[in-house]
């Protein structure tokens, strides 16, 4: 079992809030050395020939812990993993020694080419085998543990025989990979699929979560006027997502938490304020847990971080 021999990947990652590194903020960060827990970059953005991105990333890596987030490995594709891409990834990891490396439970490559989106998978036994095989191969290739991120989805497959969180839990169990829990994706998927987000979170292997993602979503509707949330990463984190985040942190304690904001990128102070918000949620809950060690989701004396998740499950048009 490769899981038992893998180096744990979270040794150098502080349990604090970090942000996605954007070219717009390179200079501000280098000139002002702001107090954030870590930065995260998309691996594929640093696989080009060189130029400014590598110079900036090296300077930032010298000062901050780094998390590397892949968007192109296509772990859920039927076809074998792209060996060239895997070696580019290995070289990048050797060069920057990120504290965490993560990829998605999704597919994006096909004979037609690279489809540049995170596409959904059927949750079947055959798919489980395929994904576990690919994760074993990735972890063997990079010589360390990877984290798997739960997807945001707009459709599901009629043939699925597993629930999404149980499918993920089984992959984690089989491969020894960690979990990157994207709380915004949980909210988006649960709203779009009419699932209960609290039940979803409670079915997740929370003790294997090593990082959290938070982001903003856009709201749309489908042809039957049912709410359709789009994982847009283009605005602040929603109240509902903060509430689900607090629900997770109450159970796990503080975790490295990333603010993802990839489109309509805001000014640096706005982005940093989102990270500070996450930091405050963690500190509050951690303080309450320390004061009352038996605290387990009952009404503590810490302040509430938003609407109770279970109450707003309804969404438009769920049966």
């Amino acid at each position: 079992m490769p899981g038992s021999t893998l180096k744990p990947s979270h040794m150098r990652m502080p349990k604090r809030a970090g942000v996605g590194l954007k070219a717009e903020h390179y200079r501000t960060i280098i000139e002002t050395s702001p107090d954030v827990g870590f930065f995260e970059v998309h691996a594929e953005n640093y696989m080009g020939a060189g130029g400014p991105p590598h110079r900036y990333l090296s300077a930032i890596r010298d000062r901050y812990p780094l998390s590397l987030h892949g968007v192109g490995l296509s772990i859920g594709a039927d076809r074998p993993l792209d060996k060239d891409h895997l070696s580019r990834l290995r070289r990048l990891i050797d060069r920057y020694e990120p504290a965490l490396f993560s990829e998605h439970l999704a597919w994006s490559s096909h004979d037609a080419g690279f489809l540049n989106d995170l596409l959904p998978l059927p949750y079947t036994n055959a798919m489980l085998e395929r994904v576990a095989e690919h994760i074993d191969q990735v972890q063997a290739s990079i010589g360390r543990q990877m984290l798997l991120e739960n997807p945001s989805t707009y459709l599901s497959f009629a043939e699925s025989t597993w629930s999404e969180p149980e499918f993920i839990a089984e992959i984690v169990r089989r491969t020894g990979c960690g979990l990157l829990l994207d709380v915004n994706n949980v909210h988006v998927a649960c709203t779009n699929q009419c699932w209960n987000p609290v039940a979803y979170l409670d079915a997740c292997p929370l003790s294997d979560v090593q990082q959290i993602h938070l982001a903003g979503f856009a709201t749309d509707a489908d042809e039957k006027h049912r709410t359709l949330l789009i994982d847009a990463h283009d605005r602040p984190v929603a109240e509902m997502v903060w509430a689900l985040y607090a629900h997770v942190i109450e159970r796990t304690g503080p975790l490295p938490t990333l603010i993802e904001w990839d489109a309509n990128v805001p000014s640096w102070p706005t982005l940093k304020a989102e990270a500070e918000h996450a930091q405050i949620v963690m500190a509050d809950i951690d303080g309450a847990r320390r004061r009352a060690p038996s605290f387990a989701g009952s009404t503590g004396n810490h302040r509430s971080h938003g609407a109770a998740p279970a109450q707003s499950r309804s969404g438009g048009g769920c049966p």
Partner: protein
């Protein structure tokens, strides 16, 4: 504060019925084809929360893929975007995305075949000016390569030259040969790029502990103030002196280049620079010794 509903899976997606599924390979092939071509039927076996197919939901994936790739092309070909306009570009880019989706997950490399595609794109061949720019691009690239080695910087410089050509196209005199005019502009832009690059490298590479300490010690905001003040003082100079300082000192043109660019004689540029520097010295020393 939170109803945990621990262990309840009542709303989790256990499917109500089993369907004989296509193999995974077939399924993903159908998905990929339907993504890139809106005329194709929806892939089967995909459903909304009521178990029914939903074109609107599938369109989210389609839109993510196509819009994402069109945006990548926009970023890679700003000159073409500006020349043909948004609507024409997007129409052309959407067809290209369908004809040649990316072969690799590295989006930085996507779109190398786009100029060739435009060459075959019927409505675009009706734009002779666009064809001209497209045809000179490989030649410009070879010119730039004499000055610049880094592939990234070469492409930057080529785009820069194309933009320059577009913005000063009215200065071309059709009675004179096109080649030397083009080469002159291309070389100048390439050298500019090289200079800027040199200065950047000087500023950027030696990021050492001492540099950090200096920044942390709040020297930084003084620098910014200094720069702001300098800009203001330069702006207050008489126009000819301001032009001379801008071209010779800030843009680092030679006297000959500045003379070509402004139509001023070398002698008057020298005189203007001399006067400007004397004025600047006075203005800046006033501030230091109030």
């Amino acid at each position: 504060m939170i109803d945990t509903a621990r262990g309840s899976t009542r709303n989790l997606p256990y499917p109500a019925r089993r369907v004989r599924a296509a193999s995974l390979a077939e399924q993903q092939a159908a998905f990929a084809i339907a993504l890139l071509d809106a005329q194709q039927p929806l892939p089967t076996g995909l459903q909304g929360p009521d178990g029914q197919p939903s074109a609107r939901r599938f369109a989210v994936y389609r839109n993510n893929v196509v819009v994402g790739l069109v945006e990548t092309l926009k970023a890679a070909y700003p000159v073409i975007l500006r020349l043909v306009g948004e609507e024409f570009f997007v129409a052309m880019a959407r067809m290209y995305v369908r004809a040649e989706p990316p072969a690799s997950p590295i989006m930085l490399d996507y779109g190398a075949g786009f100029p060739r595609f435009i060459g075959q794109f019927e409505p675009a061949t009706a734009l002779p000016y666009l064809r001209l720019l497209r045809e000179i691009t490989p030649y410009l690239r070879s010119l730039v390569r004499r000055w610049i080695k880094d592939a990234w910087d070469i492409e930057d410089a080529v785009q820069d030259i194309l933009l320059t050509l577009h913005s000063i196209r009215h200065t071309y005199d059709p009675s004179r040969p096109f080649g030397p005019w083009l080469v002159g502009i291309a070389n100048r832009r390439a050298i500019d790029k090289l200079r800027r690059r040199g200065r950047q490298a000087l500023r950027e590479t030696p990021l050492t502990a001492e540099h950090e300490a200096t920044i942390a010690a709040a020297g930084n905001s003084d620098d910014a103030l200094e720069k702001q003040h300098l800009e203001k003082v330069i702006n207050d100079l008489p126009p000819i002196q301001r032009t001379a300082v801008d071209l010779l000192k800030l843009k680092e043109m030679s006297l000959k280049e500045a003379s070509d660019a402004t139509g001023l004689s070398v002698a008057s540029l020298k005189m203007a620079t001399h006067r400007a520097l004397r004025n600047l010295r006075n203005l800046l020393s006033d501030r230091r010794d109030p």
